[in-house]
Amino acid sequence: MIRRIARKELIDMLRDGRFRLLGGLVLTVALLALAVGWRQYSEVQRQHAQAQAATRQQWLGQTAKNPHSAAHYGVYAFKPKSPLSLFDTGVDPYVGVATWLEAHRQDEFKYRPAQDRTAAERFGELTAAQTLLVLVPLFIVLVSFAAFTSEREQGTLRALVSLGVSPRRLALGKALGIAGALALVLVPAASLAVVGMMLTQANSDVLADIPRAAWLGGSYLLYFATFLAIAMGVSMRAASSRAALAILLSFWAVNSLVAVRAASDLAGTLHPVPSAVEFQRAMQAELSDQRELQARLDRRRKELLAQHGVESMSAVPVNFRGITLQEGENHGNEVFDRHYGRLFDTYSQQEAAARRIGVIAPLIPMRSLSMGLAGTDVAHHRDFVNAAESYRRQIQRVLNRDIEVNSRDGQNYEAGASLWAQVPEFIYSLPTARWVVSRHAADMTLLVGWLLVAVVFAFTGVRSLRVD
């Protein structure tokens, strides 16, 4: 019985010009967004990979010089693009693409791509994720708002119920039918997305992205099912088609538009970030406070003297300059960790607060989850920033150790290609899907919660279904 109802609903929909038009539009927009995203990803990834290789060559090709000069020459780190960014570009336009890894400094990433675009960028990029987050729910609303109300207005609902069709079966059948129609639109788009993903993977493994893609697909299915259930529930209860549409459109507008901005602003007020000047000033103040550093250096001096059983530093068989440099780095690193850590923690607090405030809109956890799985959220940026910073510290350790061990104070020491080659290449790989999912447990819980609420809403609507 349910299958029969579902088939009838599907056929109805396929014959409906509105569905064909809307579905065609959604599919076109999604495909266009995917194509553009694929092209942008390939282009940017190629540029960044080539730049990363070039900076490595520049490092290895340095002439003979003092290792600390090489530390100041440094290397550049270029932010890689996640393969799934073709689906959801996330915050990529708003984070810097490059940073300079040199001694004594942790710089922020500079050059946000959005600064090189017009103000129209702020309308949002037309990505496949945007289509799924905003357009598809509207599509669901527009094809299902009249599922019950039109039958009621035409008088066929009374006839159906009088035939002994249980309202619950009817609801399930209609839902399945609409879901089937949706699948007709979305499955081609999804398959093409997967194909696009596989095409972008020149030499790296596609398998790494499949878990993320699978989680993405599953989450969006939950999201669509939620909207479908809500639309059904409203359609069952509403007095007329017009009323159902008005209610559903209002919900859709608040969900897509209002909630996320309002939540973001409120969260920003609760957890403000310092201004750039204040951030730098506070960091500089702590960096300039070298009392603890001097104390530490004095201790090291005493240790060395005791260790080698000599009275003066000139008799110690290491270059204390190397130790000074490294201790200076350690002091700086503590300060950087504290300040940058606090800044990124503030971002996380803002996002958590926005999620709590935005419990009224399923788009908020869905968007957060989508960006996380696509690898284009702030957490992934933070992960790369930390990886680049670890690499920077590794460089300093290698170079300072060389100064300490292989040179003497006052000597005009120069090292060469053999030392540069001791610094390994900077290899970064994206975190695993498990890493993402564990961080987004709250988002997943909210999504599942929403689905449960929506299904309960639909089922209780069945019981109170008005026949006329």
């Binding site: 520049q58 000069s69 791509p113 949002g124």
Partner: protein, 478 residues
């Protein structure tokens, strides 16, 4: 007759809860938007205060240190000597170029959260000075702000459509339209009154509410140009509302049912405020893509390598890379080093300039295309206008950056002769300072005039088509 229709319409509107809901939602939204906008303005102003305070303290400290060094004849390493013009110009004496928020800046955050309004000017190269970064959460930049501009651009049309989607179809579905038109009054006039009254009520409400709230919370309307800008804002809100009312009327005049009207209008709203702007942005960035800045980073790096290689021929590579290890600290070696660094920096900039210009040219092409495409969507037109009125658009920022670049030149012209002459910095109190010169209001009006005129034209055209269709409207026999 007209009075009778007006009174009748007023009675119907006030009985229906829709108007009350719409104005209620608008009130809440505008209040939140204004609150957010004011908070943003406050944070901008306090960021500027942070900068100027940091500068004042730093300069005072440096001046005091310089005087005490002189008196005590202290030997200070060059890189921490406030009297060293290279150290001063690059570091210790650095001053900020700031752009304060414009009058009515609280009405639109625009691009001001993405484009910096505080630059630290030093003797470093121009691309270094301009590549400043900010601490704003990237997710918040992506989401956008709930400010008054957002309410006007997105919610205002939605609420207009909620008020007008059934303005004709409801009467028809209830069967009262035939009764109304049995009076000696044309459908055109009836619709004009219905739509006109709604337009007056909604637009008037927004303007009155904005004015009242602004006065109540002390938005400085007395500032230079504030009243004119508010006048422009009122015109913008009215014309934008007029467009959407005209669009709703045109759709209503075709005589579909209420549900169909709602679907059509919501689809049109989505297309005009969400899809078309994003699609236009896509077209512009695909046709004139600004390449990733990594290219510029590489160019700078390569130019530095080349320039440094030749510069190092003059001094040992070791001293150039690490001046604090310069054995001879009498000042002679290091100021030679400063001279070399000057020459090297100039060469780097000359090599990098064509690369940097390519970015500017490409972005300008993108902007020109967007300037043509924006006429496709009223939301795009309005975004530019609202940003310009509040001073948070790209044009004002470009105007600011030009002044910053000029100040940067002046800064270097102050310090480079000192470095070349191997002189010392005399005082920290007579350094070149930056004062932002606001763009003339005339420019703002000129920029916004085209958009507003097109909006007016579009609204008029839609209204004309709507009225023409209404003349052939059949009430019975549908």
């Amino acid at each position: 007759m007209l009075i009778r229709i007006l009174r009748h319409e007023w009675r119907m509107l006030t009985r229906d809860s829709t108007l009350a809901i719409v104005t209620g939602v608008l009130a809440v939204a505008l209040a939140s938007g204004l609150a957010n906008g004011m908070r943003w303005r406050t944070s901008q102003e306090s960021a500027i205060d942070d900068a100027l305070r940091e500068e004042r303290i730093r300069l005072q400290t440096a001046e005091a240190a310089m005087i005490s060094n002189r008196e005590q004849h202290a030997r200070v390493p060059p890189f921490s000597d406030p009297a060293n013009p290279d150290t001063a110009g690059r570091n210790m004496a650095a001053r900020y170029a700031v752009m304060p928020p414009a009058p009515l800046g609280e009405l639109a955050v625009g691009q001001s959260d993405l484009l910096p309004s505080v630059y630290k000017v030093t003797t470093e190269s121009k691309h270094t000075v301009l590549a400043t970064s900010d601490t704003e959460n990237p997710t918040r930049l992506l989401t956008g702000r709930f400010d008054v501009a957002f309410v006007v651009m997105y919610l205002y049309p939605l609420l207009i459509l909620a008020l007008t989607y059934n303005v004709l179809s409801q009467e028809q579905e209830q069967g009262t339209l035939a009764l109304v038109l049995s009076h000696p009054v044309g459908l055109g006039r009836v619709m004009a009154v219905k739509i006109g009254m709604r337009l007056a009520l909604v637009a008037g409400f927004i303007v009155a509410f904005a004015l009242a709230t602004a006065l109540a919370v002390g938005v400085p309307l007395g500032d230079a140009g504030a009243v004119q800008r508010f006048g422009l804002w009122v015109a913008t809100v009215s014309l934008y509302g007029g467009f959407w009312f005209a669009l709703a009327m045109m759709v209503a005049s075709r005589g579909f049912g209420s549900a169909m009207n709602a679907m059509l209008l919501s689809a049109l709203w989505l297309a005009l405020t969400v899809v078309l702007p994003s699609a236009s942005n896509l077209v512009a960035t695909t046709m004139y893509p600004v390449p990733s800045r990594v290219e510029m980073v590489q160019a700078i790096r390569e130019a530095s390598d080349e320039a440094n290689a030749s510069g190092a021929a003059l001094l040992g590579q070791y001293y150039q890379d690490h001046p604090e290890f310069a054995a001879d600290q009498s000042g002679q070696t290091t100021t030679d080093f400063n001279l070399v660094k000057l020459a090297v920096d100039e060469q780097i900039e000359a090599s990098v300039r064509p690369v940097a210009e390519r970015y500017d040219v490409q972005l300008a092409s993108q902007q020109r295309l967007m300037d043509r495409l924006r006429f496709l969507s009223p939301a795009m037109l309005i975004q530019g206008v609202l940003n310009d009125i509040s001073g948070s658009g790209v044009s004002r920022h470009r105007h600011f950056v030009e002044q910053v670049a000029a100040y940067h030149e002046a800064w270097r012209s102050h310090f480079f002769p000192l470095i070349a002459r191997k002189a010392t910095v005399a005082t920290y109190t007579a350094l070149p300072s930056f004062a932002y010169v606001e763009e003339p209001l005339r420019d703002v009006v000129q920029r916004t005039a085209a958009s507003l005129l097109v909006l007016l034209g579009a609204a008029a055209a839609l209204a004309t088509v709507g009225f023409a269709t209404l003349r052939r409207f059949t009430v019975v026999g549908r």
